[in-house]
């Protein structure tokens, strides 16, 4: 799987096209992409902007683990996980996960597993900025 996994963390805008081109595979029957974008509100409070901070070396390592674990569970041909860091405006892309499999069911399951796991294990932190303050998401109960 080594050359079939593309893991990136970038402070530049992410490109869905780049992910799609990476996962293109002549034997692929289904490609599923998850694209996480910055929402304009959280629990009714208007979000102005958002900042992502990453412990980059470990985040890359954890993202790779997710892709490798997914590749053990499902017949994945190609997989890309790209995460943005820095300051993002509403509507910008925070994360893209693209999975190519011979059949679509596996691609849906693997992509869903990957984003669920990423949110649990990858050392990246999101700070949301509101009119009157900012909050590190998920930090407190």
């Amino acid at each position: 799987m080594e050359n079939c996994i593309d893991i990136q963390i970038s402070d530049k805008p992410l490109s869905e096209q780049t992910c799609l081109e990476f996962v293109a595979h002549p034997g692929a029957g289904g490609i599923v992409n998850f694209i996480g974008t910055v929402r304009n509100q959280t629990q009714g409070k208007a979000v102005i902007k958002l900042e992502f901070e990453a412990y980059i070396s470990m985040a890359i390592s954890e993202m790779r683990k997710i892709a490798e674990l997914a590749s053990q569970k499902w017949p994945i041909q190609k997989m890309a996980i790209h995460h943005r860091v820095g300051t993002l405006a509403v509507g910008e892309i925070a994360v893209i996960i693209s999975v190519a499999c011979p059949h679509r069911k596996a691609a849906f399951e693997a992509c869903s597993f990957a984003i669920d796991t990423l949110k649990e294990t990858v050392p990246i932190w999101k700070k949301e900025f509101f009119e009157n303050g900012a909050v590190w998401i998920a930090a407190h109960p």
């Binding site: 412990y55 470990m58 050392p123 990246i124 932190w125």
Partner: protein, 79 residues
Amino acid sequence: MMKVLTFGIAKDIVGGPEMDIPYSEGMSVLALKKAVLEKYPQFEKLNSLAIAVNNEYADDNLQITPQDEVVLIPPVSGG
């Protein structure tokens, strides 16, 4: 003393990208956590506090060596 790196809300609590913790030979991750909480009780209020040693989540009983890269991992929120 050993250097412990901080990110996210941990950086805000500590007031910078790293903190110093007294190191003793064979110190465990659990002992490090206790030392951190003693110095900064605000960490008690977080949903969780993990420790990464050399880019891996570390168990409480792992022994830390002076060469290790040790990082506080407050609750993650990527994606």
